[in-house]
Amino acid sequence: MSLENKEFKPKIVAFCCNWCSYAGADLAGSSRLTYPADVKIIRVPCSCRVNPMFILRAFEKGADGVIMCGCHPGDCHYSTGNFYARRRMTLLFSMLDYIGVENGRTRVEWVSAAEGVKFSETMNSFVEKIYSLGENVRLGDLRCKN
């Protein structure tokens, strides 16, 4: 392994709801639609399970970008979960933007189980954005930096 490789490799956390987006990611996989390995997916039952604490925690521990995917509004497995998630994330992202964190580091995208292509495209574009923003220096605990 070329550990000497010091070029920027972002850490990207993707929260995916079990019913739509995680399945969408599975479909991207079975369709062999590639996206960078920087993205790591965490499965949650619903986008409404994603606590803003999780997102800040990811940044604290060194994530350079956090993306949350859920069912399209109106299609939530639990009927209303993504509606709440949408408001929560809108406010949280707005707050992060307000304190000067580049808003490209956070994103919400609705991806259905049938949208493997969209999942892959979303991840590709998100990763590209994070590369353009570079390392996350405004959020993050110094103790987690090496």
Partner: protein
């Protein structure tokens, strides 16, 4: 500390071709808690599962991680394998290194690194897993159907035929619903009563069906499999057991000025009445608002003429409490109030009527005994205009944003029937679009146009102006010819939008079933679970879920019945253990979680707590795990972190985040 086993699957070459599985195994050994790690060609195979079982037993594993395909594929397989080997199935986590890794990455080094990270996240999570046990709840083998229209009747018959007791609660004095008010049905032109009445009789005669008419649901508590419902039987003032249905009381009743609900207020009925001839039960009720005896204390004619002695002025409302395993909502619809549509002169002219009123006019049992005549002067009309989409597909707040779906077809039916019976009457239909997706629907509409010469004009009517001579001047536009049209008509029929029965809001609240912005009940999934409410044990039948015609309603009624039967067939329900739990010491009792729960699974109780020596009574959230579906909305709404989700706890997810970011 857990004793964790890690099992890395090659999936033939699906994983192994891109991920260095031996490296993943090597790295697994480095992780805290891991006491065993191995790889195998196909973990999901018999042999693979045997390896897992052996490791669980030999290494006394308390948790395990399988690095393999998506959990959506084989999580159940591995959980069962673990359970067979004596490990709680909820101590199994899957690291998805196929769909999320080997299949989408080409570079082996990169894919291996990612696989290791995904594995670490799963290990970090499983370190915090706790054994979970699905709960059990009993199922009361009895169903409640709210609403006795065709939807409710069909659902009840289907459930009863499967051998389960069913109660129908109907608000009006008779079952039958809207369909009983219809004259003919499209696209076959069957007589509505002719096909409905046998169903009504079948339901009433069914030994498993019990019908509460003139009754309303008062209170609902409990949850799937175990609902307790209070039903208010409104005082009928007639003893159901004694009444023979002879009808003399109605004949002799001196108060005959009450508007007939059944005939949409187009004529009147007596104070003691059955809504229509084929009513079931054939037992009248006394309308206490209209009854002279109730208003003045004098009269009592009905009591005098009743040979059976069935009249009981002293009767009071009665509350019946019953237990049910499943509840089907079939509350149907009504037409919208037209007061905001002044331009159609509905309130100004008796000759502007709704389509449902036209049904009554054309019906032999209706106010005109089936003769097509103007309600103002009884003259036969020569020119009839139908206006489509009155209040449907409306962009402002006067009407409804949705398509009422049935109007195009019943208007074609009306037009056809009129042209058939009265060939000298001209029929014009103003429409926005004609929508006929259904078996034999378009053919039916084309017959109206081609065979019966109905004049369809694409365009909207701006205004209907009553003329001094009693005619109605219709101002419309013809979009295809791009011209204004002025037409004199003798009658105007409005295809009035339908809306859910106004009672549904109250009922939905009692059932904690969600309703959408148009007051239609929400289905659990728009495509995949169209007859279930998101609230477990609540099923949807008919128009309460969305506009539909009779065959669709009957189909959905049957589907709802099947879903209810599927529930009633079980003796016990296993409940998903990945439910929310409230920490009694952290809960503020603030009700925030309750407000976001789509299932009404959260209630509040005053509980005695001992908070490290401080004893007090606190208002605490309690999750009914039989109702909770585990979405987690409450866990984020809860500011103190008292509410947590088993299987996806805050600490578990945070552990995954940490592992990924480390």
């Amino acid at each position: 500390m857990q004793r964790i086993g890690v099992f890395v699957c090659h999936c033939g070459s699906n994983i192994a071709a891109t991920v260095d599985v031996s490296k993943v195994v090597e790295m697994a050994h480095m992780e805290p808690g891991v006491v065993h790690a191995e790889d195998y060609q196909y973990m999901c195979s018999e042999a693979g599962q045997a390896k897992i079982a052996a490791a669980i037993q030999e290494k006394k594993l308390t948790g395990m991680v399988v690095c393999s395909c998506s959990p959506r594929m084989h999580e159940a397989t591995f959980r069962k394998a673990a359970e067979r080997a004596g490990l709680n199935p909820y101590m199994v986590e899957i690291a998805n290194i196929r769909e999320h890794c080997s299949w989408i990455h080409k570079d082996m080094e990169e894919a291996t690194k990612k696989a290791v990270i995904l594995m670490r996240a799963a290990i970090a999570k499983v370190n915090l897993n706790a054994p979970l046990q699905p709960g059990e709840s009993r199922v009361t083998k009895r169903a409640l159907v709210i609403g006795g229209g065709i939807a409710g009747i069909q659902t009840a018959i289907d459930i009863a035929d499967a051998g389960y007791e069913v109660d129908i609660v109907e608000k009006t004095p008779s079952i039958g619903g809207r369909m009983s008010q219809l004259d003919k049905t499209f696209p076959t032109l069957d007589c509505s009563a002719c096909i409905l009445t046998p169903k009504m009789v079948e339901a009433s005669a069914h030994e498993k069906i019990n019908i509460y008419t003139y009754s309303e649901v008062e209170k609902v508590s409990g949850f799937v499999g175990d609902f307790t419902v209070d039903i208010r039987k409104k005082a009928r003032s007639v003893d159901m057991d004694k009444c023979t249905g002879c009808g003399v009381c109605q004949e002799k009743c001196p108060s005959k000025k009450a508007p007939s609900e059944f005939n949409r207020g187009l004529n009147t009925r007596s104070a003691i009445y059955t809504p229509f001839a084929q009513a079931i039960p054939n037992v009248p009720v006394i309308d206490r608002e209209a009854c002279i005896k109730f208003k003045t204390g004098k009269c009592g004619v009905c009591s005098k003429v009743c040979q059976a002695g069935a009249i009981d002025y002293e009767q009071k409302d009665e509350i019946v409490t019953e237990k049910y395993g499943a509840i089907v909502v079939a509350t149907g619809f009504d037409t919208i109030n037209l007061e905001k549509y002044d331009e159609y002169a509905y309130s100004q002219s008796k000759d502007v009527i709704t389509s449902l009123e036209l049904e009554r006019v054309m019906n032999a049992a209706g106010p005109t005994h089936g003769h097509l005549e103007r309600l103002s002067d009884g003259k036969a009309p020569k020119e009839i205009v139908f206006i489509q989409c009155v209040g449907s597909r409306c962009s402002d707040d006067r009407g409804k944003p949705y398509c009422s779906k049935i109007c195009c077809m019943y208007t074609a039916k009306h037009a056809m029937l009129i042209r058939d019976k009265y060939p000298d009457v001209n029929v014009t239909v103003f429409y926005i679009d004609v929508r006929t997706p259904g078996k034999n629907f378009d053919e039916f509409y084309r017959r109206a146009v081609e065979q019966y010469g109905v004049n369809y004009i694409k365009g909207q009517v701006g205004k209907v102006i009553p003329q001094p001579d009693g005619k109605l001047l219709v101002q419309g536009s013809d979009l295809l010819d791009n011209k204004q049209i002025l037409k004199e008509a003798d009658m105007v029929v409005l295809a009035t939008a339908i809306e859910p029965n106004p009672d549904v809001r109250r009922i939905a609240t009692m059932l904690t079933a969600s309703i959408d912005t148009n007051n239609f009940l929400t289905e659990a999934h728009a495509k995949l679970r169209p007859v279930e409410s998101p609230t477990a044990g609540i099923f949807l039948s008919g128009v309460c879920q969305g506009p539909k015609d009779i065959p669709e309603t009957v189909a959905q009624a049957g589907a709802a019945a099947v879903k209810a039967i599927g529930l009633l067939a079980k003796d016990k329900l296993l409940t998903n253990p990945c439910t929310a739990q409230s920490d009694i010491l952290l809960c503020n009792g603030c009700s925030t979680c309750e407000n976001v729960c789509p299932y009404g699974a959260i209630t509040y109780e005053d509980k005695e707590v001992n908070d490290h020596g401080i004893r007090e009574t606190r208002r605490i959230a309690v999750v009914n795990s039989a109702l909770c579906q585990g979405c987690g909305a409450c866990t984020v709404a809860c500011p103190s972190g008292a509410m947590d989700l088993q299987g996806f706890s805050n600490r578990q997810i945070i552990a995954e985040v940490d592992a990924i970011c480390r």
